[in-house]
């Protein structure tokens, strides 16, 4: 996967390339999940809803927070993404690893 470096200083920047999605950990197993446009949670980043302005991001996070209050997920937050050739790509090493799983070992049998 191409690593796209995070050159902006704030996750809530009003920059022109403001694309974000919401991620969290699922309550039952802690797995990484992404909020979809159907208010469901998917293990695939390809399913995530992407927003490109602050107002929409606030709405997205609020929906995710409501879901967390319903005890489906833990700790939802916004993170930056880019789209390349129709693919959604997380920005920054931490989010890349959350998406792909550990970069080492033989335990990478993620569903």
């Amino acid at each position: 996967m191409t690593i796209i470096r995070d050159k902006t200083k704030s996750q809530n920047s009003n920059s022109q390339n403001f694309t974000q999605a919401v991620t969290a950990n699922r309550l039952t197993d802690g797995y990484v999940v992404y909020l979809t446009d159907r208010d469901s949670w998917s293990e695939r980043i390809a399913d995530c809803q992407i927003v490109d302005d602050r107002s929409a991001a606030d709405d997205l996070l609020q929906r995710a927070t409501d879901q967390a209050a319903d005890d489906l997920v833990v700790g939802p937050y916004l993170f930056k993404v880019a789209t390349e050739g129709g693919r959604t790509i997380p920005i920054g090493q931490r989010e890349i690893l959350r998406t792909t799983g550990p970069s080492v070992g033989t335990d990478l049998n993620l569903a």
Partner: protein, 561 residues
């Protein structure tokens, strides 16, 4: 080994059922995450980057074969077939499901283990010299005192909500193999002039963002006063430690701000008020605990030693790989005819500290065959069979070799301590494991490793320093710059009885440069060393400048100075 008494069994079983109810209420939505989080942390359950992580205590690093088999069973049944042994003599499972955790805790309770106080602002698992009971230089077995501390500190009502986590390490030898000065309290055993055992008490050590080596506040504490003195230290800390700033909440900051002498005086005043009471440890009680840690049924091999040594010498001469393993991984035992064997969990290119369920089962079986069914876990993330007859070493090595557990690198450059790093840890800034793998792959030549000799290389993925990089001869710290991983190098750290913090050598390296930088550091050492000089001795003699010049060139080295 220590066996649970009725109280131990009862409270661990009660705790399992209590947590089962808490998990059920959380899943049913009756507890919010904010309400549940402190409860799960008290039971060692973290939520990490990809999944929950369960940290299980291995008190003073001692396991029976039965316990090791249970750890393997848990890895196979509830996780992904492996476990990760840590620098604090714990094992971590990286993929348990929340609803399975009560069942896991129940399994652990069946072999007298638990995950209580492996997280949270309480007294954590007390660690000890992994060679306890078998080291030739030992005054007394530190596990006796670590077990007494475990009983005193477990669910201690006054110390369950300290300003910050609190770690204690104990060694029964003047040679420190437990990094005692790197702990909130370090206890190192000495004898007084009359020959009585007692502890040097060191307080305020820790690594993290403010690495400080513990200061001695009492040169000699008679062992019967151990608990009252610890209680005095904890009480002063609990009352005065900062709760307003997480970065200044550890006892090391309190000791630093008050001054060592003032802090010692406060402890002394508190101790004088509470000593000679129910916390005293009469000899009978110490002996009762000590009986659990008595030597196994050694054969009297003293008279056979010349023959044993000859047989071993013949085996060594006939098999250079076995000889290399014995040289690196086998240590002298206090009992004639026996040896201490380190099982390296650091295969070249492997993940430091990881063991598969099959390997754990195999080690359990080997411990029964060769070492009275006992296994030790070292802070260096290796396993140890403490009581191996010398004549069994060849058969043991052959068995380990078939399990990929016979890497002859204990104490060598590829015996790397590494934290889980950003591959697993929610706090990490950078990956540790792949860096360790890349470095170890550069040192696969055993002859070269032997030539480099004794050295320590530790890699932490963030400033919390779980891999003890500050006290490594070569320390590597992962940092994040603009979303990209970089690695800062420190040189000159020491983890033994002369513990000291290493110094940053210069600007950080990226993930593709760092392994080469380590090779450069080793090359400088090999060129600069004098006869029989270890890496740290060469570094202390020549200082950082030759290393800086090699790493950064003469001009940049001057700037970095």
């Amino acid at each position: 080994m220590y066996r649970y008494d009725e109280f131990d069994h009862a409270f661990v079983a009660e705790r399992v059922e209590q947590f089962r109810g808490q998990v059920a209420r959380r899943v049913a939505g009756e507890l919010t995450e904010d309400e549940f989080k402190p409860l799960r942390l008290m039971n060692g359950l973290y939520l990490q980057l990809h999944a929950y992580m369960l940290r299980v205590a291995i008190p003073y690093g001692t396991l029976s074969a039965k316990q090791m088999r249970k750890l393997a069973h848990i890895a196979r049944t509830y996780d992904r077939g492996y476990g990760h042994f840590t620098t604090r003599q714990n094992i971590q499972y990286n993929w348990p499901r929340l609803e399975d955790v009560p069942a896991i805790l129940n399994e652990l309770a069946s072999v007298e283990m638990h995950a209580i106080q492996t997280s949270g602002n309480c007294i954590r698992n007390t660690t000890a010299d992994p060679l306890a009971g078998v080291a030739a230089d030992e005054i007394d077995d530190p596990r006796v005192y670590a077990e007494i501390i475990r009983q005193w500190s477990t669910l201690h009502p006054e110390f369950s909500f300290l300003p910050r986590k609190f770690k204690i390490a104990v060694t029964g030898s003047p040679n420190d193999r437990a990094v005692t000065r790197g702990h909130d309290i370090g206890l190192r055993m000495h004898r007084d002039l009359a020959g009585n055992p007692g502890f040097e008490v060191m307080v305020g050590g820790g690594q993290g963002r403010t690495p400080i080596m513990a200061k001695t506040i009492r040169n000699f504490l008679p062992v019967d006063h151990l608990l009252s003195y610890l209680e005095a230290v904890l009480r002063v800390y609990n009352q005065l430690g900062r709760r307003d700033n997480i970065y200044k909440a550890r006892i090391k900051i309190l000791v630093q701000s008050e001054g060592t002498d003032t802090f010692a005086q406060m402890v002394e005043a508190e101790w004088q008020a509470i000593k000679d009471n129910a916390l005293d440890l009469p000899k009978e009680e110490r002996d009762r605990i000590k009986a659990y840690f008595g030597p196994p049924g050694y054969d009297d091999l003293a008279g056979d030693c010349p023959e044993l040594n000859l047989a071993l010498d013949l085996s060594l001469a006939a098999n250079p790989r076995f000889a290399a393993w014995v040289e690196a991984n086998v240590q002298d035992h206090k009992q004639p005819g026996y040896a201490i064997a380190t099982i390296s969990l650091k295969p070249h290119g492997g993940i430091p500290g990881d063991a598969s369920a099959d390997q754990m089962d195999a080690v359990a079986a080997l411990s029964e065959k060769f070492s009275f069914g006992e296994i030790r876990v070292s802070y260096k993330q290796n396993l140890i069979l403490p009581d191996v007859p010398k004549l069994g070493l060849l058969a043991l090595w052959r068995a380990l070799d078939g399990l990929d557990l016979a890497t002859a690198n204990a104490g060598r450059i590829s015996d790397i301590i590494a934290c889980p790093g950003l591959d697993y840890c929610n706090l990490a800034n950078a990956r540790s494991i792949p860096i360790a793998q890349r470095i170890s792959e550069r040192f696969t030549d055993l002859a070269r490793e032997k030539d480099i000799g004794e050295i320590s290389l530790n890699i932490s993925g963030c400033i919390n320093a779980c891999a003890h990089h500050h006290v490594a001869n070569i320390g590597v710290l992962g940092v994040n710059k603009g979303g990209t991983e970089y690695y800062q190098v420190t040189l000159g750290g020491v983890a033994d009885e002369n513990a000291r913090v290493g110094a940053i050598i210069g600007p950080a390296f990226d993930e593709w440069q760092i392994a080469g930088a380590v090779e450069d550091i080793v090359d400088v050492y090999l060129r600069q060393r004098q006869t029989n000089e270890k890496f740290i001795e060469t570094y202390q003699r020549v200082g950082p400048q030759p290393f800086k010049e090699k790493l950064y060139g003469t001009d940049r080295a001057r700037q970095a100075s």
